[in-house]
C-alpha cells in the first residue's frame, strides 16, 4: 500500500516535470497577433483616460503598479505595498532595474509625478479616488509613500491600481502641457511591447520590447497589431477569413459569435472578463409621481422575466443581478438581499394597490423609455422591457438616441421616465458604483445619480464605507448598501453579464487573467 502511494507520487511528480518541459518546448516565438478594435482611440495614455478601449492597446505598452490575476493582486511595477495604521500613508516598494522604452530608468520620481499631476488632477474616476492625496514622497528611488489627508483603505487603492495606477515617464511629461503632450498618442512605457505607429482609421502597431524586465524570453510575440473595423459583420468576416485573431468586448454581433463558436477554429467565452462585469439595468426617474411609488417599481421588477431575457439576449452568458455590486465583487458582494421573482399576478396586484387600474384598452399608464446606445444588449433589453411591461398594462414608448443624446437626455435634462443602460463595475464599489447612488453630484454628470434618489441612510453608508479601513467592516457596509438599494429600488440591476470574446485557436495563453484584454500579454504566443 505504502509502496503504491510512493510510486503514484513519483509518477505524479514525473508527469509534472513532463508537463512543465512540454509546455516550455511547446511555446513558439515570433509572429504577429492581429486584434479587432471597434472604435478609434484619440488618447493612448491610461493615466489620462480610464477606459477599457484605451487599456486594450496601452496595456501592452504601459504597465500599472499592480495587476489582477486569477491568484489575486500581483505586483507589476510595484513589488510590495502596505499601509500605516491610520490609513494616511500607503507605501509601495517599486521594482528595480526597470527601464522605459527610451532607455531611461523607471523610479519613484515617475510615480510621484504621475500621481500628483495626472492621477489626482486629470484622470477620470481617479480625481475622486485621489482627492485626498496630499503628496507622494520618495525616501529612496524605489519607495513611494502616498500621503493622504483622510484615511485611504489599502484594499480600495490596491483594487483601483490595475486600472487607475499607470505611471508615465516624468522626463517626457514634466514642464509640458500634459493634455497636448505628443506622447499621449505615441505612448512610452515599460511594457513588453513598444509603440511603433498609429495610422488613424486603420491600425496601431506595437513591436517586441527586447529589454523587457521579465526576462529575455518575453514577450513571445514579435508584434501586436490592432485593426479598426467599425462594421461588426465585416469584423466577423475578417475573423473567418483569418485576417484577425481575436475580437473582445462583444466586438461582433451575438448571432455571429454563436455561429463562430461552433467553428472548431475558434474559442468562445467570457473567460478573461471577470473584472469587466456590467449590469443591464432599468433606471427610474423618481421625479415622475407614478414611479415615485415604491409599489410601482416593485411591480415592474416582478413583471420582468429575467431568465427569459438572459437566455434570449445574452444567450445564457450572465446571471440575475442582486443589487449594485456584482458577484465579481468578492467579499463586498452578498446575495442575501430582497428579491423580486417573475410573477405577473403579483405585479398586477401591486399596480392595482398603487391605484393604477387599467383603462378600457387595458393600459394603466405610459412611460417614455430611453435605451442607451451601448450596443446589442442595451437595444434588445429595451425592446424586451417594452414587451414585458405591455403584459401588465404599462405602455412603453422607446425614445432611441445616440450616445451624446442619451447622456444629455438622461443625466442633464432628466427627460425620461425610465431608461436602460449598463453599469460597469470597476474592481471596487467605491471607484464608480456608489457614485451612482449617492445624492449631491452636479446635474449632468454622466453615471451619477440621475434618478432623483435621495436617501440620507444611503449617503451615510456610502461615506462610511469609503473611509472604513477594516476590510471586514467595509464588506459589511457594502452588504448593507446592496440590501438598501434592493429595498428602495431607484434602479433595477436586472442582469449581470461579463463581456464575450471570440478568439482564433492559433492564439495561445489567451484570456488567462481576469482583465486579460487590458493586461500586458507578455506570455501570449501564436501557434503557426
Amino acid at each position: 500500500m505504502r509502496g503504491m502511494r510512493g510510486r503514484l507520487l513519483l509518477l505524479g511528480g514525473a508527469l509534472c516535470v513532463i508537463a512543465a518541459t512540454a509546455h516550455a518546448e511547446d511555446v513558439k516565438r515570433g509572429g504577429t497577433a492581429v486584434i479587432h478594435m471597434v472604435s478609434e482611440q484619440g488618447v493612448l495614455n491610461p493615466a489620462l483616460r480610464a477606459s477599457t478601449g484605451v487599456y486594450q492597446i496601452s496595456g501592452k505598452i504601459i504597465e500599472p503598479l499592480i495587476d489582477k490575476t486569477y491568484d489575486g493582486y500581483v505586483g507589476v511595477l510595484a513589488t510590495e505595498w502596505s499601509s500605516s495604521p491610520d490609513g494616511k500613508a500607503i507605501t509601495f516598494k517599486l521594482r528595480e532595474g526597470v527601464k522605459w522604452h527610451d532607455g531611461k530608468p523607471f523610479s519613484c520620481d515617475d510615480v510621484a509625478f504621475t500621481a500628483m499631476n495626472l492621477w489626482k488632477k486629470l484622470l477620470n474616476y481617479s480625481t475622486t479616488l485621489q482627492a485626498n492625496l496630499e503628496a507622494v514622497d520618495c525616501p529612496t528611488p524605489y519607495t513611494a509613500v502616498f500621503r493622504y489627508s483622510k484615511p485611504m483603505p489599502l484594499e480600495l487603492l490596491v483594487a483601483a491600481m490595475p486600472d487607475l495606477g499607470h505611471p508615465v515617464p516624468k522626463h517626457l511629461y514634466e514642464g509640458t502641457d500634459i493634455l497636448k503632450n505628443p506622447y499621449n498618442q505615441k505612448p512610452v512605457g515599460t511594457g513588453p511591447f513598444k509603440f511603433v505607429e498609429y495610422k488613424r482609421g486603420e491600425y496601431i502597431i506595437a513591436e517586441r520590447n527586447k529589454d523587457y524586465w521579465r526576462g529575455k524570453q518575453y514577450p513571445y510575440l514579435d508584434r501586436v497589431i490592432w485593426r479598426f473595423i467599425p462594421d461588426k459583420a465585416a469584423a466577423a468576416a475578417a475573423l473567418e477569413a483569418g485576417e484577425i485573431h481575436e475580437s473582445g468586448f462583444n466586438g461582433i454581433s451575438m448571432e455571429d459569435m454563436v455561429r463562430l463558436s461552433k467553428d472548431p477554429r475558434f474559442d468562445f467565452g467570457s473567460k478573461g472578463f471577470e473584472n469587466n462585469v456590467a449590469h443591464s439595468t432599468v433606471e427610474f426617474n423618481l421625479r415622475n409621481p407614478i414611479l415615485a411609488d415604491l409599489r410601482v417599481r416593485q411591480a415592474i421588477y416582478h413583471a420582468l422575466d429575467i431568465d427569459f431575457a438572459l437566455k434570449t439576449i445574452m444567450r445564457g452568458h450572465g446571471k440575475p443581478g442582486r443589487g449594485p455590486i456584482p458577484s465579481a465583487g468578492g467579499a463586498n458582494y452578498t446575495d442575501n438581499v430582497p428579491t423580486y421573482p417573475f410573477d405577473l399576478d403579483k405585479a398586477k396586484a401591486l399596480l392595482d394597490e398603487a391605484g393604477f387600474k387599467p383603462d378600457a384598452n387595458g393600459i394603466r399608464f405610459k412611460l417614455r423609455h430611453r435605451p442607451a446606445p451601448w450596443g446589442e444588449y442595451t437595444q434588445l433589453w429595451a425592446e424586451y422591457f417594452a414587451q414585458a411591461m405591455k403584459k401588465v398594462g404599462i405602455q412603453v414608448e422607446l425614445v432611441t438616441n445616440d450616445a451624446p443624446g442619451f447622456l444629455n437626455g438622461v443625466y442633464r435634462d432628466h427627460d425620461f421616465d425610465t431608461a436602460n443602460g449598463w453599469h460597469q463595475f470597476r474592481a471596487d464599489p467605491a471607484v464608480s458604483t456608489t457614485v451612482w447612488l449617492r445624492s449631491g453630484a452636479p446635474v449632468g454628470t454622466a453615471w451619477s445619480n440621475q434618478f432623483g434618489y435621495k436617501s440620507d441612510k444611503m449617503d451615510n453608508l456610502i461615506d462610511a464605507a469609503a473611509a472604513e479601513l477594516d476590510p471586514a467592516k467595509r464588506a459589511d457596509l457594502y452588504h448593507q448598501i446592496q440590501k438598501l438599494e434592493m429595498t428602495d429600488l431607484p434602479v433595477i440591476f436586472a442582469i449581470e453579464h461579463p463581456f464575450l470574446a471570440i478568439t482564433s485557436k492559433k492564439l495561445r495563453n489567451h484570456h488567462n487573467t481576469p482583465r486579460w484584454e487590458s493586461s500586458s500579454w507578455y506570455d501570449l504566443w501564436l501557434d503557426q
Binding site: 477606459s51 478601449g53 486603420e202 443624446g405 447622456l407 454622466a446
Partner: protein, 329 residues
C-alpha cells in the same frame, strides 16, 4: 490695354468667385445644424470612457471652448476658417487638416475608380442595349441593371465579402493595405488595387445601373432624330453612326447625371467605407457625427462643398466641349 483673358478661364474664375458666398452659407448652416443635435463631443467622449467626474468634464469643455455660447463658437470658428485653419480634432487629437489629408486620397481614389467603372460600363452597356432594343440581350442587361439598382450597397458589400474573402479567400476583407506587410513601389500599388476591387465594385454597380438606363433611353431617343436619319442617308453606317453621331449627343444627359452624382457618391461612400473599413472621408464623416467631432465634420463639409463646386464647373466645361452650341457666359 487689357490682357486678353481666354473665355474659358474667365468663366471658371467667375464661377469660383460666385461659389465663395455659397460655401460660407453652407458652413454657417451646417454649424448651426450640428449644434441642434443633442450633446457635444465631450458627452460622446465621456460615453466612450464609461464616465467621468464633473470637474473633469468641466475642464474638458473649457479646454475645447464648448462652454461658450453657440454664436461665440460660430464666430470663432468662422474667423479661424477665414485663415484656412480647420481647428483641432478632439477625437483624433490631431489638427483637422492632418486628419482630412490622410483620408481624402483614399476617398478620391474610391470615388474616381467607381465612377469611372460605372460610367464606362454603364454607357457601353446602355448603348448596346439600345442598339438591340427589346432583344434578348437588352432584356438581360436591363434586368441585371435593375437587380443591381435595387440591391442596397451594404448588402452587396457583405455578399461580396462572403463570396470573395470568406469562401474563396481571393480578396482581403477590408482596409486599404495589407497591414504589417510594408510593401513599397509597384507591390504597394498592386496591394492597394487588390484592396479596392470589392469596394469599387460595390459602389459602382448601383451607379452603373443608373447610367445604363439613362444611356439606353437617351440613345433610343437620339436614334429617332432627323440628323441621324440624314447621316444614315448619306451613307454613315454601323460604328461611325453610333460613335460619331448618336453617342456624342446621347451623352449629354449622362454627363449631367455624372456631375450631379459626384456628390451622391460621396454620400454612398459612407456605407461602403464603413463596411470595408477603408479610412476615407465617408467613414470619417459618420464617426464624426456619432462623436460630435464638430471641427472634423465642418472640415469634411468644407472640402466636400469645394469638390462639388469644382465638379460642377468641370461638368459645364465638358458640356461645351460635347455640344458646341452651348456657350460659356
Amino acid at each position: 490695354m487689357s490682357l486678353p483673358v481666354p473665355p474659358l478661364l474667365a468663366y471658371a474664375a467667375r464661377r469660383v468667385v460666385q461659389a465663395i458666398p455659397i460655401i460660407i452659407l453652407i458652413m454657417i448652416g451646417s454649424f448651426l445644424l450640428i449644434k441642434l443635435a443633442p450633446g457635444d463631443t465631450v458627452d460622446a467622449l465621456v460615453g466612450d470612457m464609461g464616465g467621468a467626474d464633473p470637474a473633469f468634464v468641466a475642464r474638458l469643455r473649457a479646454e475645447y471652448g464648448l462652454d461658450q455660447s453657440v454664436m461665440v463658437q460660430l464666430w470663432r470658428y468662422m474667423l479661424k476658417l477665414a485663415q484656412f485653419d480647420f481647428g483641432w480634432s478632439y477625437v483624433y487629437e490631431q489638427p483637422v487638416i492632418t486628419v482630412l489629408t490622410s483620408r481624402i486620397g483614399n476617398t478620391m481614389l474610391l470615388m474616381v475608380s467607381s465612377l469611372a467603372v460605372a460610367f464606362t460600363f454603364g454607357v457601353a452597356l446602355g448603348a448596346i442595349a439600345a442598339r438591340r432594343a427589346y432583344s434578348w440581350t437588352d432584356n438581360m442587361i436591363s434586368t441585371l441593371g435593375l437587380v443591381f439598382y435595387a440591391m442596397p450597397s451594404f448588402f452587396l458589400s457583405l455578399l461580396l465579402i462572403l463570396i470573395f474573402s470568406v469562401k474563396l479567400g481571393w480578396l482581403p476583407v477590408g482596409g486599404i493595405r495589407t497591414i504589417g506587410a510594408f510593401k513599397t513601389g509597384w507591390a504597394d500599388v498592386a496591394d492597394v488595387a487588390r484592396h479596392l476591387v470589392m469596394p469599387t465594385a460595390a459602389l459602382s454597380l448601383i451607379y452603373l445601373a443608373f447610367y445604363m438606363r439613362l444611356m439606353r433611353t437617351s440613345v433610343l431617343e437620339v436614334m429617332d432624330l432627323d440628323f441621324v436619319r440624314t447621316a444614315r442617308a448619306k451613307g454613315a453606317g454601323g460604328a461611325r453612326l453610333m460613335f460619331h453621331h448618336v453617342m456624342r449627343n446621347a451623352l449629354l444627359p449622362v454627363v449631367t447625371l455624372l456631375g450631379l452624382q459626384f456628390s451622391t457618391v460621396l454620400g454612398g461612400s459612407v456605407i461602403v467605407e464603413t463596411i470595408f473599413s477603408l479610412p476615407g472621408i465617408g467613414q470619417l464623416a459618420y464617426t464624426s457625427v456619432v462623436k460630435r467631432d464638430l471641427n472634423t465634420l465642418m472640415g469634411i463639409i468644407a472640402i466636400s462643398s469645394v469638390i462639388v463646386v469644382i465638379v460642377n464647373v468641370v461638368t459645364d466645361l465638358v458640356y461645351a466641349w460635347l455640344d458646341p452650341r452651348i456657350e460659356l457666359k
